[in-house]
């Protein structure tokens, strides 16, 4: 396998957080369809659960949307009760997509030209 480069997930994908009650969903959308298999292989339920360990998710589910080159993560009980209960200033957890997008991933060097943003 060719040498890879380690980059933050936001170079390969973008996303948005939504909330319902004490549950957060975070989309992870590949900037290019060719980057989708990398997300599929590396941004797994286990990896995401570990990345959010301080939020003690009761469950992390990943849904795959290959037509959109996107993943949808659903994290249960990570919002300290949600919009009416949490003490966080960001009771909705709006910022959580950016926490996930900071995850380091390894990209095959051949795909580097597809990455977004300044290298």
């Amino acid at each position: 396998m060719s040498a890879g480069i380690t980059v933050p997930l936001y170079r390969a994908a973008h996303g948005r957080t939504g909330d319902k009650g004490n549950r957060s969903n975070i989309s992870v959308i590949a900037w290019h369809p060719d980057l989708y298999p990398v997300l599929l292989a590396q941004v797994t339920e286990a990896v995401v659960a570990r990345h959010f360990a301080h939020r003690r998710p009761a469950r992390v589910q990943r849904f795959e949307l290959p037509q959109l080159a996107a993943l949808n993560f659903v994290l249960d009980e990570v919002l300290d009760g949600g919009v009416n209960d949490a003490l966080n200033l960001d009771t909705h957890g709006k910022a959580l997509s950016f926490w996930l997008l900071d995850l380091p991933i390894e990209i095959p060097a051949a795909l580097a030209p597809l990455l977004a943003g300044p290298s």
Partner: protein, 454 residues
């Protein structure tokens, strides 16, 4: 030779939440008029918390309890909508749709307009004593001892469609599910049955894309260097073109900022979605697991591949109840060792406030990414941030206990670490939420035309 397809239905959305911009509707209405053809304008102004706040306002004033910005949102476009047969559908009735309808009626009269036919959708409000057994049957002991503020079922599109079929020019609802504001007009316009699952699902996802207003037009998207949005200060609001099968193209109001792009529409399509194969609404279970998006032109994105399944047998109900008191306090430290001084101040507050579970934020070092229990903060080594605002928060059922927090934060002026300034404190009543499902048959829905006034 086949007849040319009928012109698509246009549905513009001019609000995505309570408190949205009141100058949004003008360009949407201008665009709907310029394009001609059948058109609706919707305003989505309710969130999980909004209704309970509206119910509290109604308690204080029987003529209040609808969207506080209703007048500001509607007045600039009401005359043009009525003149050009653009019908208006909204949940801005909140906790008091009848009062909202009367307000609109008076507004139209005051503007010298012919009296519009206004329908009021009712049945979602389950806060009355007669509904107590229904809620208790679902929530059981969780209802014991709570002080209920509001209880509303998320209702669907059928009552809206029926009101439109009956000739309503304006439909005022309360807790209608957000996408149903789009499904109702589409059902009525195209004459779809309430079990036409594929078409209802497609219109539901069109409504889902519209329901947050600017969020599908480049709002809530910009990230400099990664996601550029032109003229974000003037971001436009969306218009969906829906065909007779429910397929849609999302565009936006002419001569506005923002962008309707594949990336932005993908984000909004998945916003607040859990299982993409089962997006539950009162109208249908929508399946977007095989949905496709394509750029159909500048600022135009087409959605296809949405399927539908039979609607759920139950409706979701949110019960809001009084939740004690939220106490918050903030103080800033800046310059050399600012973070260390802020951390010391937090420690002082912890020692002074036994019995209150404090959340601590070091704004400028680590705040909203952290959890209420402080696990992330505890595992983050102290840094050297030089401009830190300490924020602490706690909740308590007893107001006197909660009040200890703002007093101790204020006391940091003289008794805390060096150089603290800019104290702000607040004590606010809280609302908590319980959710349950109730059988659909237990929530009879209806609409009523507002009687005309002379």
């Amino acid at each position: 030779m086949t007849p040319s397809p009928p012109s698509p239905l246009l549905i513009g959305c001019a609000a995505g939440f309570s408190g949205d911009r009141v100058d949004a509707a003008g360009p949407v209405v201008d665009t709907l008029i310029a394009r001609g053809g059948p058109a609706f304008l919707i305003f989505e102004t309710l969130a999980e918390r909004t209704l309970a706040l509206a119910q509290l306002r109604r308690r204080a004033d029987p003529d209040a309890g609808f969207e506080p910005l209703l007048d500001d949102m509607l007045r600039p476009v009401l005359a043009r909508c009525l003149a050009h047969k653009i019908r208006i559908v909204s949940n801005f009735g909140a906790a008091n749709p009848l009062a909202a309808a009367r307000h609109i009626q008076a507004m139209a009269a005051g503007m010298g307009l012919p009296a519009p036919r206004i329908a009021v959708v009712a049945g979602d409000d389950l806060s009355g004593a007669q509904h107590e057994p229904l809620l208790r049957a679902q929530l059981g002991a969780a209802m014991d001892g709570i002080r209920k503020v509001s209880a509303n079922a998320y209702i669907g599109a059928e009552a809206i469609a029926a009101a439109l079929d009956a000739g309503a020019q304006i439909v005022v609802a309360g807790r209608v599910a957000d996408p149903s504001l789009t499904v109702g007009p589409a059902m009525s316009h195209f004459g779809w049955r309430a079990d036409d699952w594929d078409r209802l699902a497609r219109a539901t996802m069109a409504g889902h894309l519209l329901e947050c207003g600017a969020q599908v037009c480049g709002g809530y998207f910009a990230d400099p260097g990664y996601k550029e949005v032109p003229d974000l200060h003037a971001v436009g609001y969306p218009i969906a073109e829906i065909d007779s099968d429910g397929h849609c193209v999302i565009g936006k109001a002419a001569r506005t900022g923002g962008v309707v792009s594949l990336a932005g529409v993908k984000e909004q399509l998945l916003y607040e979605v859990h299982d993409p194969a089962a997006y539950l609404t009162p109208d249908v279970v929508a399946d977007i697991s095989a949905a496709q998006l394509s750029q159909a032109g500048p600022d135009r994105v087409a959605l296809s591949g949405v399927r539908g399944h039979a609607r759920p047998a139950s409706l979701k109900v949110n019960v809001c109840h009084e939740g004690g008191w939220l106490a918050e306090g903030e103080i800033s430290y800046a310059g050399p060792r600012a973070e260390a001084r802020a951390r010391l101040a937090a420690e002082v507050l912890r020692r002074r406030l036994p019995g209150l579970a404090l959340r601590v934020d070091l704004i400028g070092a680590l705040s909203i990414m952290g959890d209420d229990a402080g696990r992330l903060l505890a595992h983050t080594p102290a840094g050297d941030a030089r401009d830190v605002r300490l924020r602490v928060a706690a909740t308590h059922s007893d107001r006197a206990q909660a009040e200890r927090l703002p007093r101790e934060v204020t006391a940091l002026y003289c008794c805390g670490p060096a150089g603290g300034g800019g104290v702000r404190t607040s004590l606010t009543p809280r609302l908590n939420t319980l959710s349950c499902l109730v059988p659909r048959e237990a929530v009879p829905l209806r609409f009523e035309m507002l009687e005309g006034v002379q």
